[in-house]
Amino acid sequence: MVDFYENNNANVHRGVHALSLEATEMYEKSREQVAQFINAKDVSEIIFTRGTTEAMNFVAYSWGLNNLQKDDEILVSLMEHHSNIVPWEIISKIRGFKINYVNTNPNGTLNIKDFENKLTSKTKLVCLNHISNVTGVVNDIKYLSKIVHDYGAIIIVDGAQSVPHMKVDVQDLDADFLAFSGHKMLGPTGIGVLYGKKVLLQQMEPFHGGGEMIKDVTFNFKNQQCITSWNELPWKFEAGTPNICGAIGLAAAIKYLNHINMSNIFAHEQTLTKYAINNLKNLNKITLYGPTDSNRCGIISFNITGFSSHDVALFCDSYGIAIRSGYHCAQPLHQILDLQSTARASFYFYNTVQEIRRFIEILQEL
């Protein structure tokens, strides 16, 4: 990123000068790397966004506003991050379709029976995370997308917690849309990705209007109107100057992750998670949330009797350990699990067993 700003900084797809061409080359190369990373069939299926939240809003406004109507239904799980609930609530009020919420089991896993019961011929869309940002539960997207497609619906997958931690293959999962963020995978903030199947993206109207996303803006002198036509994919969806350096930074992160290998990352995090759960569950005052089997990743939410989650986070912070506290933008899940809030430790491939041991020692002091 420093190299880009020092040597190649210019707008993309605008100028014919050398700097602009270099910047464009680097930006589009980044898109190719993202496409390869999630095994998209075509590079034009990759749209750069500000992050997962913007990608979700993108689908809600661009696809949802034009494809959902009064008698339609969509299915949203109660284990979703607010970014996969709130946009649909907003669009539902405009278009009048019904949102059915899928329950979770007491251990935070998706209630498959409830999912299947609520999926009907009226269902047009299913919104589901790949991995819960509260319990670390991994949803079997491949299995669920097959059921969704059998009903003629499409599925949008929140991949914010899965893409950084495991090999995600959008063709294998058969996800119609998948969103993720750069800052959760060693990339910079303010860059994210919406993957969409080409056939769906081609049918969709633009989310934002402005420069670059148009082919023509022709003024009709007789009618005193502008006639607009859209650019090709993916630029139809990238109005204005994009986060060029963010995309380049994300590609650099992907290169690094590929070097370490996503299978190694997943295996290491499984080891850390298993070690943490096995040792945390022996602490006297702790309650762990989520399943205790292997069907989860390195996100562990918990509470300690006598302390609020914020107390636990402040205590850990005193020792230089950063954990989250509160609802983690998933208030409905906390409600159904009857929780005031939770403290949450999350691991990445750079964490070690020694660090987790230290974390547990510190919690024992409470």
């Binding site: 609020s308 005193s318 509160g326």
Partner: protein
């Protein structure tokens, strides 16, 4: 909040979660002085690992962290918080 109290405080943060805790972030160079004031004006109930100081003041309960944060529990509004901070830090 008085100017004297404000001189100790870098930022006040609300928290998400049903508990509605409020976190007062003290200026780093003022945290030790702030602790002295708290020890003088409030009642220290106990201490955990030299990191957490549990205090009570009238009907209020709060914790001071050695990192320079104070977490107040069950404060309903900003006015009550400001008044409490003034009583503790003046």
């Amino acid at each position: 909040m008085s100017a004297v109290s404000a001189d100790y405080i870098a930022r006040i943060e609300g928290t998400c979660g049903a508990e509605s805790d409020i976190i007062v972030v003290l200026k780093f160079d003022k945290k030790d002085q702030a602790l002295e004031k708290l020890l003088k004006n409030a009642t220290l109930k106990n201490q955990i690992a030299d990191m957490i100081y549990n205090f009570t003041y009238k009907e209020h309960v709060f914790r001071f962290y050695a990192s320079g944060r104070i977490i107040f529990k069950g404060i309903k509004d900003k006015q009550t918080l400001n008044k409490l901070i003034d009583s503790l830090l003046l």
